[in-house]
């Protein structure tokens, strides 16, 4: 299983900070489409995806136990 961390508005929309999904073998792009279709997250345009604390592109392949995070546009500082 893979842990998918949610933050800011995404966390509020879903009502929790972590969801678990079996995503190993999927590309990040495939995961994105899956989440859009199967969860209340809706459209994820503009949301970056980080795997093990690094931003990755949609062709990145997810492995077993990778930590995934959905990163909305940041607004720190």
């Amino acid at each position: 299983m893979n842990k998918i961390m949610l933050f800011a508005q995404l966390k509020e929309e879903v009502g929790k900070g972590v969801i678990e999904i079996e995503a190993s073998g999927k590309t990040v792009g495939e995961l994105r489409k899956f989440l859009e279709k199967e969860t209340p997250l809706g459209n994820l345009d503009g949301i970056m995806i980080a795997v093990n604390e690094e931003f990755v592109k949609d062709d990145w392949i997810i492995e077993e136990k990778d930590d995934i995070a959905l990163i909305p546009p940041v607004s720190g500082g």
Partner: protein, 154 residues
């Protein structure tokens, strides 16, 4: 280097002390504070949230970039999370360098990079509502607010 995320009020003197060096002829400090009015709208308070482990990793990456670009001696970046009131310090950055131009430039670079790619978010609370800034529903407060091509892990 010092990179930190804290729930406590930031004390500038402590951040400054982290970078003081005998070889330094300049220490620049940037202090980002919570502003009351944004585009005429009155903020009551802000709430900051971070993906802490990744935020710290990215802050350390920024310090690495600064040390490649400028002969900086030490860098401290401290960001506060949780509820912040008007005038509270959200971020403090201190940079020491032998000479002032480098200390100024590197400090500004650090802040701009934080705004681009460190996973920290703020929610504005107004009298008539609230909103995560940078979200998809409204106007983007920050043009960048997302990592650029070179920030992606290949």
């Amino acid at each position: 280097m010092t990179c930190k995320i804290t729930r406590e009020p930031i004390k500038i003197e402590e951040v400054y002390q982290k970078v003081v060096r005998r070889e330094a002829g300049a220490v620049t400090t940037f202090v980002g504070t919570v502003r009351e009015l944004t585009h005429g709208k009155k903020t009551l308070y802000l709430e900051y949230e971070a993906y802490e482990s990744m935020a710290l990793k990215k802050m350390r990456q920024i310090v690495g970039e600064m040390k490649e670009k400028w002969p900086v001696l030490e860098v401290a970046i401290v960001h506060r999370v949780g509820r912040l009131d008007i005038t509270d310090i959200a971020i403090a950055i201190a940079v020491s360098s032998p000479h002032r131009p480098d200390a100024y430039e590197a400090n500004r670079y650090a802040l701009e990079r934080v705004k681009e790619m460190v996973p920290i978010w703020k929610k504005e609370h107004w009298e008539d509502g609230e909103k995560w800034i940078g979200n998809q529903q409204g106007t983007k407060e920050y043009e960048k607010g997302k990592p650029e091509e070179g920030d992606l892990f290949e």
